[in-house]
Symmetry: C2
DNA sequence: CGGCCGTTGTTGAACCTTCAACCAGGATGC
DNA sequence: GCATCCTGGTTGAAGGTTCAACAACGGCCG
C-alpha cells in the first residue's frame, strides 16, 4: 500500500493550477447560465443534444450517453425540463419500455437565448485567453485524458466480470 | 445581441473534447474518493488545506478562500466533517465572530488513507497519459485561464461599484 | 459613546446529484 | 409457453450545493 507514487513539488503545482482553473472556469459558466437563463449547465447540454438530433428527439438512454449522464440524473432533469415546458416525453413506438424526449419550440427558443450568453462566456474565458498553439495542445491533452479514462473503464468492467 | 462570436466547427470540437475530458475525469476522481474514503472531493480538499496549515488549523474564511469555496458551502461541509470527528471547531481568541477549524488526529489519519488512492488515480489518469511537453502546456494553459477569470471578476466587481 | 457599515459565520429552503430499489418490457434458453 | 435474465426508465431518500436572510461582532467616524 505504501508503493504510492506521490507527486513531486512541480507535479503538485501543475495539478493544483489545473484544478483551480477548471473549478473556477466551470463555476463561472454554471453561474452565468443559471443567472441569465435559469438552468444549470447539465440541463443546457441536454437541450443542445436534443436540438442537434433528428426531429429534435432522442431516446432517454441515447440522450444519457450523449450527455455523459446517468439514467437517473437524466430522468430527474427531463422531469424538470418538462415542467418548464421546454421538453415533452413521448412513448416509443418500437419499444414499449422506451421514452423519447422531444425539444419543444419554446425549449428551442430558450436554448437560442441561452446559447448566446454561454458561447460568449466560453469564448471570452477559454478561446480568447489561449494562443492557437495552446488550443491545439489542449485538444490533444483532452483526447489523451479521455482515452486514458475509457481504457481504464473497460479494464474495470473486465475485472468485474472476472469477479463473477 | 446578435453580435455573438459563435464557435467554428474546429473550435466546437476542441470545446467538446475538453468538456468531455474534464467531466469524465473529475467524475472519476470524485467517485473514487467517495467509494474508497466516503467523502466527495470538495471535502478531501478541505482536509488537505487544514493538514498543510500551521497547527493544522485555519479560520473559516481563510479556509474558504484556499479551497475556492463559498462560506455557506464550507459551513455545511465542516459541519459534516465535524460530525465524522475529522475536524473540530474552536472559537477564535482574537475575533469573537471567528471560528477556527482544526484537523483532528483521526481526520489526519483518514486523510492519509484517502490521499493514497486519490493521488494514484490522479497520476494514473493525468500524469501517466501526458508527455512532459503536454504537462508544461497544461500548466501554462491553466494559468492563462485562471488569470483570465481573475481579471474578469475584478472587472465585474468594478461594474457593480459603478451601479451604486 | 453611539450610529452605521462591512465582515464573519451560520441557517433553512430549494434545487441537483447519487444511490439503491423497483417495475415493466424485451430477449434468450429450455 | 414460461422461467430467467438483461435492459430502459422511474422513483424516493440521502447527501451536497446554492441562495437569501440573518445574527453577531469589529471598525470607523461623527
Amino acid at each position: 500500500m505504501s508503493d504510492v507514487r506521490w507527486l513531486s513539488a512541480e507535479e503538485q503545482q501543475v495539478w493544483r493550477a489545473f484544478m483551480t482553473a477548471v473549478t473556477k472556469f466551470t463555476e463561472h459558466l454554471d453561474r452565468q447560465l443559471q443567472r441569465d437563463s435559469g438552468m444549470p449547465m447539465a440541463y443546457y447540454e441536454i437541450l443542445v443534444a436534443l436540438s442537434e438530433a433528428p426531429e429534435r428527439a432522442l431516446r432517454m438512454s441515447e440522450l444519457a450517453s450523449v450527455c455523459h449522464s446517468s439514467r437517473s440524473r437524466l430522468s430527474h432533469a427531463v422531469a424538470r425540463l418538462e415542467k418548464e415546458g421546454w421538453v415533452v416525453r413521448q412513448a416509443c413506438p418500437s419499444d414499449r419500455r422506451g421514452s423519447i424526449a422531444v425539444l419543444t419550440e419554446t425549449g428551442f427558443r430558450v436554448l437560442e437565448q441561452a446559447a448566446a450568453g454561454h458561447v460568449t462566456a466560453v469564448r471570452e474565458h477559454l478561446f480568447d485567453v489561449l494562443t492557437p498553439d495552446q488550443l491545439r495542445s489542449l485538444a490533444e491533452i483532452s483526447r489523451a485524458v479521455d482515452a486514458g479514462l475509457t481504457v481504464q473503464c473497460a479494464k474495470v468492467r473486465r475485472e468485474e466480470f472476472a469477479d463473477l
